[in-house]
């Protein structure tokens, strides 16, 4: 059975280093298994978040050889024999310890988005599948925050003070495009979430483990809607009259 060489970040935000480990590779093993093997044998105090081990919970985000990914989906046989596998915490959020970062900022952003707001009625909802296919795409999000991690506004410019990031643009799009939602989040998107700061580099879309078309299906339509709302009053009136203001995303 072959052995793999891992370099795993050990330490806190203040001090840390990549430490070397050797792990026996079993068939079908993923990087998260290797981390668990290290934990069980050498370092019970190695900090890592995980839950489902099946790419459903979005807990085990890390940067493996520089690639932001879910460790539970990153197979060890992807690497050449003898290739060094470097596992680092995601960069955009402060390190708590080892591979665990402080992602609490995301939960604070989420609180500010106006929740689902249907008009009150007691009747059964008749909603056709084709009208929610897009919303369901957004609701696949497992909150791994990899999109937040690679968004250069957050990662390179550290504008967490201003920009809500792709994850929450996806969430907002899911609410705005819900056929029964009545709220309007455009002012928020423009003035507080600062959707304008996104310049559509699509890095977020590339890393999404759920293959959500974040840029094309969520961010760009929201940007267009913000433009309609604030910079094209005539167009907005026409769309209202034509009854196409909530449709035709």
């Amino acid at each position: 059975m072959r052995k793999a060489k891992l370099k795993v970040y050990r330490g806190t935000a203040d001090a840390g280093e990549f430490k070397d480990y050797e792990v026996q590779v079993e068939e079908g093993m993923v990087v998260l298994d290797a981390i668990h093997a290290i934990q069980a044998k050498d370092s019970p105090d190695l900090a890592v978040r995980w839950n489902c081990k099946a790419a459903k919970c979005g807990s085990c985000s890390a940067e493996v050889n520089g690639m932001p990914s879910l460790m539970c989906k990153t197979r060890m046989d992807r690497f050449e024999e003898g290739e060094e596998i470097r596992v680092a915490p995601i960069k955009t959020f402060p390190i708590i310890k080892d591979l665990v970062t402080d992602v609490s900022w995301n939960y604070e952003v989420n609180k500010k988005i106006k929740g689902f707001s249907p008009a009150p009625d007691d009747k059964e909802w008749i909603i056709h599948q084709e009208d929610i296919d897009r919303v369901q795409e957004f609701r696949k999000c497992i909150e791994c925050f990899l999109c937040q991690n690679v968004c250069h506004v957050l990662r390179d410019h550290d504008r967490k003070d201003a920009f809500m990031g792709p994850r929450f643009l996806v969430r907002t799009a899911g609410l705005e495009m819900h056929p029964k939602d009545t709220a309007n989040r455009m002012q928020y998107l423009k003035d507080e979430g600062h959707i304008g700061m996104c310049n559509i580099t699509k890095c977020c879309t590339e890393v999404c483990p759920e293959d959500i078309h974040i840029t094309d299906n969520a961010i760009i339509p929201l940007k267009e809607r913000v433009v309609d709302e604030f910079y094209d009053p005539l167009g907005k009136v026409i769309k209202k009259i034509m009854g196409t203001d909530k449709k035709g995303w």
Binding site: Q39, P44, D45, A47, N51, K56, I96, D102, V103, I126
Partner: protein, 603 residues
């Protein structure tokens, strides 16, 4: 002594999966101050992994459905050992809870006429599971999470509770630590709702995550509640078996609900052989009828054809797969074949997207082109903390429990889809029960400083002693449970298992860790082991005390289901000093009007 921070809430809810979130929402809606405590980040709890759907008799697809049938299916699935009142409330209230989820933003798959779509599942007579592809749990947890957040619920993330406090006989609070940095935290509360989920980590092959370490069962047991039906552990028939790294990961029953066929290594469709005589009438007689049923289901049409045999209950399918293997007809890696590849690939990808990706990425198997290899994996525990059906109250005043950690609802075997509905029906009831209790209580009961000191001392101890590695001890517990109290059981094995568990307790008392308290999983496991051993012992003792096979409890030495005494009692364990006390207590008696539902069937 180490310092700790203090918070005060009328009610604290421990666990933030479906049941905990729904409970917290209810407490908050009733105007009380609630604190929600979760071991993981919010939205990562085990509910997220539920795939197939939430069972509710909406009758959108099969208009013949109704709560009575759902109730009957649940009781029959549980081999009539269920708490009838829980099963009744569950069947009656699940539709409202599902509609409520929709009003809170859940986006279920739709029928052609725009209603909530429902799919077939094992043991359910009609198509009953409301779903979102194969990620229904994610939809539920995100909906509840957002609803809770917007209601302003206070959430304590990555916080583990290690102790419940009492003032006399009444609950007065809880103590624990933040995983992040190990700082201690005291919660003063009038009532506590336990919603901590299951115990799967005591077995080696499980669909459960690290969180499933029997926390609620352990805490409740220590506080004086009893645990019932602990012998009933559900091994889900279809977990992944290959490659080793993914062994145990769940393959949703939705695959069979959508027409997936089970075959052994000889290509035989073996499930017909294993249908219990009493249920045979409900299933297709041959391949042709099963095919007709699947085709009608795909086309969204009604049919007179009956369900395929793969949709038998989970206990039955798991046993069948086990026996096929034992008799040499298993797949290369100790499972059987589950095949959906005869259907249109695009439909399979649309209806079972995460299964498609899971096999493609983790096992190099394209499920639209060939069969999956599947085998049993520890999935769920039917048993748990004994509660009153209407209020979810335990016998400890101020302590409530809901979801998987509570017992009674599912009897000897749970039907797929009845867990998500259980979470929202009894999560809400536990929240209401705890709120009513807290309101009538008035002031906060007191917490003894000595109890806090003892709680801290217990948590600190693993740093200050030499002893075994907690991971090694957990592994030993897995080995004991696998070998002696697995899918098939017999007295001589279980007795050895119980003895070994007694020995293991000595190791658990000595486990030691290095490093400090900052996000130290080894340290966390030291405390978790104490909860795990409670369930391990309870399962072993309860199983050994029931000399019959019923539902998920299969005895090699007692293969038949008893019609006498054992059909009328629950097994209950409770703490008696240092010993585990075991009793057999009579089932709550079902009222005549409900009994008639079953008699009508016999005629």
């Amino acid at each position: 002594m180490a310092t700790y921070e203090t918070h005060e809430h009328d009610v604290i809810v421990i666990g933030a999966g479906g049941a905990g979130l729904r409970a917290a929402i209810e407490v908050s809606a009733m105007g009380l101050n609630v604190g929600l405590i979760c071991k993981s980040l919010l939205g990562k709890a085990h509910t997220v992994m539920a795939e197939g759907g939430v069972a509710a008799a909406l009758a959108n697809v099969d208009p013949q459905d109704g709560w009575e049938t759902h109730f009957k299916d649940t009781m029959n699935g549980g081999k009539l050992l269920n708490n009838w009142r829980m099963a009744q409330l569950h069947a009656q209230e699940a539709p409202d809870r599902v509609r409520e989820l929709e009003r809170w933003g859940a986006v279920f798959d739709r029928t052609k006429d725009g209603r909530i779509l429902q799919r077939a599942f094992g043991g359910h007579k009609w198509k009953r599971l409301c779903h979102v592809g194969d990620r229904t749990g994610l939809e539920m947890i995100r909906t509840l999470q957002d609803q809770g957040v917007h209601q302003g619920i206070t959430v304590y993330m990555e916080c583990t509770i290690s102790k419940l406090f009492k003032d006399g006989d009444k609950i007065s609070g809880a103590f624990g630590y933040y995983r992040e940095d190990g700082r201690y935290v005291l919660f003063k509360a009038k009532a506590v709702v336990l919603a901590t989920g299951g115990v799967g980590k005591i077995y080696s092959v499980t669909s459960n995550s690290w969180e499933y370490t029997s926390d609620g069962q352990g805490l409740a047991y220590e506080a004086g509640a009893d645990l019932i039906d602990m012998e009933f552990v559900q091994f889900h028939p279809t977990g992944m078996v290959w490659p080793p790294g993914v062994r145990g990961i769940l393959v949703t029953e939705g695959v069979r609900g959508e027409g997936g066929i089970l075959r052994n290594s000889k290509g035989e469709r073996f499930m017909w052989k294993y249908l219990p005589e009493s249920t045979k009438d409900g299933f297709a007689a041959d391949e042709a009828e099963a095919k007709e049923w699947v085709e009608a289901a795909i086309a969204g049409k009604r049919t007179e054809a009956r369900r395929p045999p793969e949709l038998s209950t989970r206990d039955n399918v798991a046993r069948a797969i086990y026996i096929e293997n034992k008799e040499g007809r298993g797949s290369p890696h100790g499972g059987v074949f589950l095949d959906i590849s005869y259907q249109d690939p695009e439909r399979v990808k649309k209806k079972l997207p995460s299964m498609y990706h899971q096999f493609k990425e983790l096992a190099d198997v394209d499920i639209t082109a060939g069969p999956m290899e599947v085998g049993p994996t520890c999935h769920y525990i039917m048993g748990g903390i004994r509660v009153e059906a209407d209020t979810a109250a335990t016998r400890v005043p101020g302590l409530f429990a809901a979801g998987e950690c509570a017992g009674g609802m599912h009897g000897a075997n749970r039907l797929g889809g009845n867990s998500l509905s259980d979470l929202i029906v009894f999560g809400r009831r536990a929240g209401a029960g705890a709120s009513d209790y807290a309101k009538q209580l008035g002031g906060f009961p007191s917490i003894n400083e000595k109890d806090i000191e003892a709680a801290i001392e217990e948590l600190e101890a693993p740093f200050h002693r030499e002893g075994p590695n907690p991971y090694d001890v957990a592994k030993q517990m897995n080995n004991i449970m696998d070998a002696h109290v697995g899918i098939f059981r017999e007295a001589k094995e279980m007795e050895i298992g119980i003895e070994k568990l007694q020995e293991l307790k000595k190791d658990i008392a000595k486990v030691a860790v290095k490093g400090d308290k900052r996000f130290n999983p080894g340290w966390h496991l030291c405390r978790d082991l104490k909860n795990m051993i409670v369930s391990a012992e309870a399962i072993a003792r309860s199983a050994n005390s029931r000399p019959e096979s019923r539902g998920a409890h299969s005895r090699l030495d007692f293969p038949d289901t008893d019609k006498g005494k054992w059909a009328t009692v629950n097994t209950a364990v409770s703490k008696d000093g240092d010993q585990m006390k075991l009793e057999h207590t009579p089932l709550p008696a079902m009222p005549e009007d409900l009994k008639k539902l079953f008699e009508a069937d016999k005629k």
